[in-house]
């Protein structure tokens, strides 16, 4: 890692004894205290550290929930109710975990859109960005399996609908679904393995976060100008105390927001049907996933046999079924983000100096919100059309608009350096 240079020294003989054998103190000093950070970061740069803290909160609340939770179809629902009523502070821990998942996704989505706006995915941060996408995928898998654990109606039917997606895969689809279930329906074996994996994946995320930070510390944070650090003395300040205090302030604000939901609207993000125990013989009339999956659910459902995009990519319906096309599109909507560093041809990072891209960025952000809105409503009437056009735009933006704008656009003049941007000098002013 290329952190700050550490002049770490200690008077403690114990610390020096350890340092001589495992240089962990100088390492932490270089990476967390001295670490040079652009001096112009705005509040959008808080969301990375916030995500890390929420991850820790999820792990602590999850491990303590697991002490009273029973992963068995006959006991799971009642064990969660027991956590809510009888276990000391159980209600608090469960509400922290339940709402924590939503807070986690809010924070991470803002973090991702920050990257999109300021071009943080561009060289030399491609791998940093890609690891971030893998973290998102792991979070989604974790949250999906966690939602199954309380074994309510939405748990059961959400799991049924989502695992059934894999049956769209030609030839081996049904076999894969059976493998996922460990039976012929979502049942006890499914609940057991989901609990096992729900426990495992957050620690995989911790590992990915470590790689994410390692890649970050190679080339340091991007910043609102998108101009690289040129002179460490002029352009940067040490992480501690400047950004530790700024991150701490942001943390306070987030915790107020988080606590509001825990204490005053704990079921706001949830669905009332999940307080009914799973019944494999009765499907609720309207199945919806958790809010953070809604844009992707909308993309999945956009693919009906008469959708023109489906007709085009399946060569008039011959290549694959609409169901399979929907599944592929849903996964592709995330995986395509891995290619973004190469799709964006512009050498300027920050949207601040890219008026045309900035316009399309906001259209894209609104498009994602519309997808989320449509995904939560029954697919009827004009909503189907809106969902289909928003799905089209999602891919059109990433695959066509981003490369074309990158080539055609004339960016505004960039500041000479981070320091110059603070004092107002630009290249044009030279």
């Amino acid at each position: 890692m290329s952190g700050g240079t550490s002049n770490f020294q200690s008077n403690s003989r114990i610390v020096n004894w350890i340092e001589h054998r495992l240089p962990i103190f100088s390492f932490m000093d270089a990476q967390m205290n001295q670490y040079p950070t652009p001096k112009n970061l705005n509040y959008f740069w808080n969301f990375g550290s916030l995500a890390g803290i929420v991850l820790v909160i999820m792990i602590v609340s999850g491990i303590t929930l697991a002490m009273s939770y029973t992963p068995h179809t006959e006991y799971a629902f009642t064990s969660v109710e027991r956590i809510m009523r009888d276990v000391n502070s159980g209600w608090l821990i469960r509400y922290i975990h339940m709402n924590g998942a939503s807070i986690f996704f809010i924070v991470v989505y803002i973090h991702i859109f920050r990257g999109l706006y300021y071009g943080s995915y561009k060289a030399p941060r491609e791998i940093l960005w890609m690891i971030g996408i893998f973290i998102l995928l792991a979070m989604m898998a974790t949250a999906f399996m966690g939602y199954v654990l309380p074994w309510g109606q939405m748990s059961f039917w959400g799991a049924t609908v989502i695992t059934n997606l894999f049956s769209a895969i030609p030839l081996v689809g049904d076999y894969i679904v059976q493998l996922l279930w460990g039976g012929f329906v979502v049942d006890n074996p499914t609940l057991n393995r989901f609990f096992s994996l729900h426990y495992l994946l957050p620690f995989v995320i911790v590992g990915l976060v470590f790689l994410h930070l390692w890649a970050l510390h190679m080339h340091h944070s991007n910043n609102p100008t998108g101009v690289e650090i040129k002179d460490e003395k002029q352009d940067t300040i040490p992480f501690h105390p400047y950004y530790t205090i700024k991150d701490l302030y942001g943390l306070g604000l987030m915790m107020i927001f988080f606590a509001f939901f825990i204490f005053f609207a704990p079921n706001y993000f949830g669905h009332p049907d999940n307080y009914i125990m799973a019944d494999p013989l009765v499907t609720p009339p309207h199945i919806v996933p958790e809010w953070y999956f809604l844009p992707f659910y909308a993309i999945l459902r956009a693919f009906t046999s008469d959708y023109w995009v489906y007709q085009v990519i399946s060569l008039g319906g011959t290549l694959m079924s609409a169901k399979l096309a929907g599944v592929i599109a849903m996964f592709a909507s995330i995986l395509v983000l891995l290619l973004l560093p190469w799709l964006d041809r512009s050498r300027v990072r920050s949207s601040k100096y890219r008026p045309l891209y900035r316009f399309f960025f906001w259209v894209f952000a609104i498009d994602c919100v519309i997808l989320g809105w449509v995904g939560g409503l029954p697919p009827e009437g004009v909503l189907v059309t809106i969902g289909q056009w928003s799905t089209f735009w999602y891919f059109f933006h990433i695959i066509i608009i981003v490369p074309v704008v990158g080539v055609l656009e004339r960016p505004k003049p960039l500041p000479d350096s981070i320091a110059a941007s603070v004092t107002g000098a630009t290249q044009a002013a030279e």
Binding site: T160, N164, L165, L180, V185, P280, L281, T283, K323
Partner: protein, 189 residues
């Protein structure tokens, strides 16, 4: 012995060098291949444990008494954890199912291919789209546009033979293997 020592050290001539290279390549590649196959074999049990276990497979058949089901009534029984619909069809339902021409069906199948005795329709009550349970078993349920079953999840309509007629589901409701052990008993599976 001296030969082996020589191989490990400097080869004595150009010929020996080439010989050395191919021998070493062979060793490297065969070690890698054995390692890869061995790893694959070792990994398999850890994946296979996810497949249905022996006791899950053992629950494979269910016996049902159908003597109490009046004409026009349906019951739902559980087979392998899935709901199975058993319907005592009315003469109108049977003639409707039989009269449909195959080119109107997204998943063409005659009614005769889907029943053992026309008055009894036995099928798995799991929507072939994404696995919801279609409505139509109970008296007040919506039966869809074709008088059979209707899946509320994404709007699939099934006819009186359980065949898909409209909506996103790709195939008909599947018919499990079953037999009538006597006039009043069905053995499913």
């Amino acid at each position: 012995m001296s030969e082996t020592a020589n191989h490990a050290g400097q080869p004595t001539s150009g010929g020996a060098e080439i010989d050395e290279q191919t021998r070493r390549d062979f060793l490297i590649w065969s070690t890698a291949a054995v390692g890869a196959v061995g790893t694959a074999i070792a990994v398999w049990p850890f994946i296979d444990q996810m497949n249905p276990a022996a006791d899950t497979l053992a629950l494979a058949s269910t016996e049902v008494d159908i003597s109490q089901i009046a004409v026009g009534q349906s019951i739902t029984v559980i087979w392998r954890g899935k709901p199975v619909f058993i319907r005592h069809r009315t003469p109108e339902e049977i003639s409707e199912a039989e009269s449909v021409s195959l080119d109107q069906l997204p998943d063409p199948q005659t009614d005769a291919d889907r029943v053992v005795k026309p008055e009894w329709l036995v099928m798995v009550g799991v929507c072939t789209h994404l696995g919801c349970i279609p409505l139509g078993q109970k008296q007040g349920d919506s039966k869809g546009e074709f008088g059979g079953w209707f899946c509320p999840c994404h709007g699939s309509h099934y006819d009186t033979s359980g065949r898909i007629r409209k909506g996103p589901a790709p195939t008909n409701l599947p018919v499990p293997s079953y037999e009538f052990t006597d006039d009043n008993t069905v053995l499913i599976g």
